[in-house]
């Protein structure tokens, strides 16, 4: 059964002069116990999709179900089954960690005693027991995000929505949070995760939906998406600038590359790249070929395409391009 399914979601925000179509017919299908990464730049519609799926926004068209419950008609049921953790660490800064969790527990209809007990469990799980009696003003960004996530786990949700869970965190806190998310996956929680970090989707998601301008422009596993961009490549930096053109010719012959478009050459950095269908065995061929021709190699490496490459190929623009807007 699909834990989350959405069909043809449309949501338009009307401004004074313009209307922005934040969702333009998004379809999603997340099987139970899996992680879907919703990947896209700022303004692609990721957050709007999460807000519709968590009953915060009503779609203009289309339907969505979470664990079989319609997000519009059975909004209250959906709310009691899901957890939401947003990009803006939505916790009360003037309350302590313990008070925040107790409050959320009470609002999830736990008794005062149950809420206290659940707060203690979560504080321990998220390594916040020592900071439990400090107001959140004193917390670091990573600690706040952990507490926010803890707040969304109070009712043991089967489905978790994480809207850019690590945006703005330092690398250490990001790794901590990734581990916490992996632990939830191990417990069988279904997760929909939005991110603009391509690495994050690669790291956490079973499958990825790439979103741009309110619709899904590609979907598949990280490997499938990478394959679309054209597999692995070898990057060689030769020692002498005069050798670059000759090196490329030799490698084109040796690897049997039919399409010269697939190769690149940068004279000033003495760098050439060629497709490597055979992976590391091609790497050996390249080294042998260049060695036999007495071309000195300054640097060489097998480069797997990143999801950044995927994004560039699919949308024609960089993932970060829109961030400055």
């Amino acid at each position: 059964m699909a834990a989350i399914e959405a069909t043809g979601l449309v949501k338009t925000f009307k401004g004074r002069k313009t209307a922005v179509k934040a969702l333009d017919g998004i379809d999603l299908d997340v099987p139970e116990g899996t992680v879907l990464g919703l990947l896209g730049p700022n303004g692609a519609g990721k957050t709007t999709a999460v807000r519709v799926l968590t009953t915060l926004l009503k779609p203009d068209a289309g339907t969505a179900r979470v664990l079989g419950h319609d997000v519009v008609k059975e909004a209250d049921t959906v709310r009691s089954l899901v957890g939401l953790s947003g990009q803006y660490a939505a916790v009360d800064e003037l309350l302590t960690g313990r008070e925040n969790l107790w409050m959320f527990g009470r609002l999830y209809r736990l008794s005062s005693r149950q809420a206290k007990q659940r707060a203690e469990e979560l504080l321990a799980t998220f390594d916040l027991t020592e900071a439990a009696d400090r107001t959140l003003k004193t917390y670091s960004g990573g600690m706040r995000r952990r507490l926010d996530l803890a707040g969304s786990l109070i009712a043991h949700p089967k489905v978790l929505f994480l809207d850019e869970p690590t945006t703005g965190l330092d690398p250490r806190s990001r790794l901590d949070l990734w581990q916490i998310i992996r632990d939830r996956v191990r417990e069988g929680v279904t997760i929909l995760l939005t991110t603009q970090y391509l690495e994050e989707a690669d790291e956490l998601a079973d499958s990825i939906a790439v979103v741009d301008h309110g619709s899904v422009i590609a979907r598949g596993t990280a490997d499938e998406l990478k394959a679309k961009v054209g597999g692995e490549r070898i990057e060689v930096v030769v020692h002498d600038q005069g050798d670059t053109v000759r090196a490329l010719e030799l490698l084109t012959d040796a690897l049997g590359i039919a399409d010269p478009e697939a190769t690149t050459i940068e004279e000033h950095t003495r760098r050439i790249t060629v497709p490597a269908p055979g992976g590391s065995s091609a790497l050996v061929d390249v080294i042998r070929t260049l060695d036999a021709a007495a071309i000195r190699i300054a640097d060489i490496g097998l480069r797997r395409p990143t999801l950044d490459d995927v994004f560039l190929t699919l949308t024609g623009h960089e993932a970060e391009e829109k961030e400055s807007l």
Binding site: T47, R51, T54, T55, L56, L57, D76, R79, S80, V82, L84, G86, Y88, A89, A90, V91, D92, E93, L94, L95, E99, M103, F104, R106, L107, Y108, R109, L110, Q114, Q117, R118, E121, T135, G151, A155, H156
Partner: protein
């Protein structure tokens, strides 16, 4: 470690419980932001001092000679104005929660729809009762007294708190409609100054131009002030002493409070249901 969620809770019990939790939250916050209490009391105290000792000498109270009459007259106006400004505490608080994403978080929980605003209103009401207490002490210091016994004075305070309660719903609607706490602060107050000055709060209505007199006497703030003056036994001159506002000040104040609550409470809850951060 599994916690069972109660399957069904009766909706009224749920609304009360949620409002209680959110009110608890507000009350936890007040002692941690002492500057709020300072700002909430400094302005009315300044008004008391300014009007009691500066402008008051130039404002005669028709039918009540003597310097002390103005101070007796003034305090009900100050109380009502202070309670009217409760608008700001609700609007700023809710706008702040909106901009920090807390409203989204609350809306994603299986809570009663009225819970967040009701909790805010109850919490702010307690806060305003505290401000009220400070203003009463301030009134005693400048020579204000009640003359009709403690029971009637208590009724006057109850009307003032009911008025604050009504105005908090207005503030809730404003807070949920604007984008930021800064906008909410001015949007919550800017229309209140003309409203309080166009009332009987600081200047007796017989002293106003005749065209403004009916407006000032029917003004909701005037009705609260007149009801308090009546119950405290303080000077309460009217331009038209036979009119409904002069004859039935307590009834008019209750009608106004009920009207404000009936209009603004449903509007605020409706706004909350569709409130969006982005």
């Amino acid at each position: 470690m599994s916690v069972e969620l109660p399957a069904r809770v009766n909706p009224i019990g749920r609304a009360l419980s949620d409002a209680g939790v959110l009110a608890w939250r507000s009350l936890k916050r007040f002692p941690r932001t002492p500057d709020m209490l300072i700002y909430a009391t400094i302005q009315p105290i300044m008004f008391v001092l300014l009007f009691a000792y500066v402008f008051g000498n130039a404002i005669p109270i028709p039918g009540f000679p003597g310097a002390r009459a103005y101070r007796e007259f003034l305090m009900s106006g100050i109380f009502a104005q202070t309670m009217a400004f409760a608008v700001a505490s609700a609007s700023v608080g809710l706008a702040d929660d909106m901009s920090k994403g807390l409203i989204d978080r609350f809306r994603s929980l299986p809570m009663a729809r009225s819970g967040v605003i009701a909790g805010r209103v109850i919490g702010d009401l307690v806060f305003n009762a505290f401000v009220m207490l400070i203003m009463v002490l301030c009134g005693f210091i400048v020579g204000w007294r009640w003359h009709n016994g403690f029971g009637q004075a208590l009724a006057a305070f109850a009307i003032l708190l009911l008025f604050a309660f009504a105005m908090l719903w207005v503030g809730a609607l404003i807070g949920l409609s604007v984008g930021s706490a800064e906008v909410a602060a001015s949007a919550g107050l800017i229309w209140l100054f003309p409203l309080t000055f166009l009332s009987n709060a600081f200047v007796p209505t017989p002293n106003l131009p005749s065209g403004l007199q009916p407006v000032a006497e029917w003004n909701p703030i005037s009705s609260i002030v007149a009801a308090c003056r009546h119950l405290f036994g303080n000077p309460s001159p009217f331009a038209s002493p036979d009119g409904f506002p002069a004859q039935h000040p307590v009834w008019l104040s209750l009608i106004w409070c009920a009207a404000i609550i009936l209009v603004f409470a449903p509007l605020a809850v409706r706004k909350y249901r569709s409130a969006t951060t982005h």
